[in-house]
Symmetry: D2
Subunit: 344 residues, 4 copies
């Protein structure tokens, strides 16, 4: 008996993350042909020929009727956060499960959410959804994702930083008072597809620049997921002259001197059985190229001769493990499928 | 006795060519502090810190009164062609000499100009100026540039192609009926500073694309300057994933078999004494890097074993020999100065 | 009943094409775990972590005994051409089918082969194999590939040029006497993995250079496959500052004026049913990004207003359709499988 | 009366720093035509056409006789450190002043020098020279450089880090016990011109990698010049996919909360009158592009809301302020000339 395929839709399928999602879903063995949607406001009506291997399918305009007609069970939102904030309450009411790639539902605490300036039409419902949304980082929250109605897919920087720090912080070996620093470097697709002076080729090529130091939106996610205080964590993102990929260099101090083997074991134990984590044995370190075009998060580290200063290197492809790949991984968990399904 | 310095102004000093002009004029020994101007429409009011070595001078809004107050003798227009088409008649009336970097005044023939769609308020005066404007390619027109009121600075592709072909065509050794092909490759600054989907880093990086094949605006200049028929010349520009530089690969056939030495002599004789031309002896060929950040036009070639098929390679920095550097070279000629002044 | 999987081996699995082959074979549904081999001379014994998704399998040294023990039925050679020239006679004698990615067996005519300077130990046998080898371009030679013992996988430039020209030449609409010009641009992986001054990052970045004009090894393949005379074809390759991808811009003249629709039909008819060819309808043109990381050859064109001057643009990923992907496509044909198997 | 020009020589003029030196010296108004030299071991005998604007002068083999014949007063060494360690004692004996761009003479303490593994033929003389060599960072050591016989030109990373930290450390406002972290990113020319797997275009493009964390040679310089303990300083260099330029992101904690104005004043006071330092006012931050092709060191910073966590950004062109430009600046100081001479 042929199993029925899952009906899905992608809203915002012409953006970078949306195109990757469309590409991944098109070859996922358990998913039917996805509905590729655009908001009314978006004027591009055709997918570029790239992601679907030559079948440049036109995007359809979004409507609830279209979703209903196609019996969509899972809706991926690759939309600006205000759009997501507006659509999710209704989608939930209609019984559609949502995987939201924006920052709309990632944060539980008001002080972290303030930076987004949400303006909800039904604040009470929004507050309730905010608390019930599950932060979609499968390596930390697999069980809760499985039953979630609304999954808030993590930010790309946040994915890379949280996965590098969680094993160390949860085992309590980090001297948090000495502070944790994340010096992150991202390719340009992380800044989105909208043309701007900042993403002009001539501004980026042959260049490197820091931006939003101490003020990036992903800081809130990192603090909440790792239960850190704001003063314990310093975050400095940089724009790399490459299309995609993130490398985070994370600096911290251990409470007690440790050996490299102990640090490596901490990572390996924490991520045992997790199919999309790769731990590098010293002196090997991850590089952006290694995880590019894959759903892996690669982690390696260097320990100082004093055994206390630790540098952790973490790499993800910002459009896959940092966005669309992780969204598919979450979809897999939500349906009891293997986490690797459709991602190889 | 100290010689008085020339008063100049640059309108459009925040664009790529305008910034280079501002930088070159700032260190030109015979030029006073240039007036850096913006059109009312331009909202950027500050120069980026780059070109003037740390002195980020604010741009002043353009007005004729400002030009007059500063006794501007030479006005550089790094503006869209419609702006140039509007301002030049008045500037000429005020006795200001103009070096225009746009395509507004380069073309004598109506059929070539049609592509620009000019809409002149005083068509008669515009027509008269069109005919009196001098095409500012110093290696071909030095004498006429010296006395010009209005110099039409050539396009970047056109500079690279015309300089590669002029020696061969003027000595009559090219079989024009067999056709001439220019396959040109340009860095992204040639597309201007305006952000667009096409100049987004992610669109350009790891890519190469052809565009405007048979339909690029610079074709008209090339045909007019080289006295070619439209059917004799094929032009295919390509967008390179680099910030600046042009390499043109030009294919043609000689009427009679020749030797490499004869071809080399043709180039060397034609450009004898021209300080900004470099002829490469085979098997050396120009590369984009060699002329980058200089005002040189580099030319090399390969001759087929049959002695008739000839491939000419020509490189310029599109912002220098292809724009701002050539404009300064023209200014030098207009004042009887050494062509190299301020360009080393 | 489970079908038995094909046993394959890759010699030279640490080079760029070899790594891609290892990656493709690892996920091919009809192929068993491939033997990854190195020549004695190669000192790298480990695959980089990239291609096999984290399983950095050590390369084994090559020996006939190892091939026999593993019952290898198909041997891929991603080796220098001299190595291939040496190994193939013995492999054929042992009944192993070979897909050779080098230039060793592509050329039938002595004058084309001279550039390689082969030095065969058994010239008679080598000559016989040379004549029986099948040029592995599936879109032209599918039937003969199916039964081949020795498949000579085409060069990357040659793939891109031959596929762009074959439909036009075979229908006889090209004015060959007027000459055909291929201006090709390739990413750096085409130059191989051996470090050199030429492939140093600083030499390539922010640069473009022509090389081997009139003298590139792939010219022979193109002439033979298209039945062209040497004087009818001009080939100028250029090195692009990107890791991978080829764009060829090809210039020719039609005997009689044609319409764009006729040209498009010529391509579409010729490649009807070929799964790895994509024909672009004007004014759309292929770009390197569109075929990157895929096995597609993309073809588009521009026709001059005179209906006779034609510019064809052809793009392939030099490591896939230009090497490893095409090798797998050939393997599929050799076993009666769908050409797309393992390549999606 | 015409002042006599200084006679200089550059040994290693075909490397990246050596080429920049040759270029800078060729246009320095107080320097005669420089002798461009190669070691016997170097096989390249020609300068590439790039640096001397088209005059590809052959390099002469090094000999003391050649130096003497040309009355060389200042010898620049752009050589491996062992070569410099061998040549300097004799050069000093001959009364030639040396500006050494290698790491041979930068370090006073044995424990820092150990990483270089020097093997001196006359250890006593070498030890004496080691102690008398002046660390050539003009912003810290201008007076001692003026009278120096042997100037040890700083490393590129060290220049960027020391200049960012010196003002803060010397005013005693840094909580050194909390540790200082330098996350540095450099273009590929910093790795030298020797081709290697690591500098292959395909290895670097679309990539970022950390290397030599806790173990880079420049750490010793930084510790010595800033009087830091090894455990107080963490250094992690990264290889950027760009040809040149360094951006260092430096993390530290102030003893007491401060205001941005106080931090800015600390930098501005310390570097008052220094022509090659540019301090950026918040929220402006340096980018690699801003100092590229100039001798500037650009410094900016972000202060956390808590007033104690400070992120300093420092940029230099590794081949200019990080090597050849700083060498010329040192030469200027050694002769009582303006520090800017020949560097604009």
């Amino acid at each position: 008996m042929t199993q029925q395929k899952l009906q899905t839709a992608v809203l915002g399928a012409s953006g970078y993350a949306g195109m990757e999602l469309a590409r991944l879903l098109a070859r996922h063995p358990r998913v039917g042909e996805s509905l590729l949607l655009r908001r009314e406001a978006e004027n591009g009506t055709e997918m570029p020929p790239l992601p679907l291997n030559g079948h440049s399918r036109p995007l359809q305009p979004f409507s609830w009727a279209t979703l209903e007609k196609n019996k969509v069970k899972v809706l991926f939102l690759a939309t600006p956060h205000e759009v997501s904030r507006t659509l999710v309450p209704e989608a939930v009411g209609r019984g559609i499960r949502i995987i939201d790639l924006s920052g709309a539902w990632r944060l539980k605490r008001d002080e972290h959410r303030a930076i987004y300036g949400f303006c909800d039409s039904d604040p009470q419902k929004a507050a309730s959804l905010t608390q019930s949304a599950i932060y979609g980082l499968p390596e930390l929250n697999a069980e809760r994702i499985a039953g979630a109605q609304l999954v808030a897919n993590p930010g790309c920087y946040a994915t890379s930083v949280i996965l590098a720090l969680a094993p160390l912080l949860r085992t309590g070996i980090v001297d948090r008072e000495r502070g944790i620093i994340a010096d992150c470097k991202s390719g340009v697709s992380g800044a989105g597809k909208e043309p701007s002076a900042r993403t002009h080729f001539v501004s980026v090529a042959d260049n490197l620049s820091a931006y939003a130091v101490f003020g990036h939106r992903h800081v809130g996610e990192i603090l909440e997921q790792l239960a850190l205080q704001a003063t314990e964590f310093t975050f400095a993102p940089h724009l790399l002259p490459i299309p995609r990929g993130i490398l985070s260099t994370i600096y911290l101090r251990l409470r007690q001197p440790a050996t490299g083997a102990e640090v490596e074991a901490c990572f390996r134990d924490f991520y045992a059985g997790r199919p999309w984590m790769r731990i590098f044995a010293p002196p090997q370190l991850p590089q952006i190229q290694f995880s590019l075009h894959s759903n892996y998060c690669d982690i390696g580290f260097c320990l100082a001769p004093d055994g206390q200063r630790l540098v952790v290197i973490s790499c993800v492809d910002n459009l896959l493990k940092g966005a669309a790949g992780q969204a598919v991984q979450n979809m897999n968990l939500m349906h009891g499928w293997n986490e690797k399904e459709g991602l190889n």
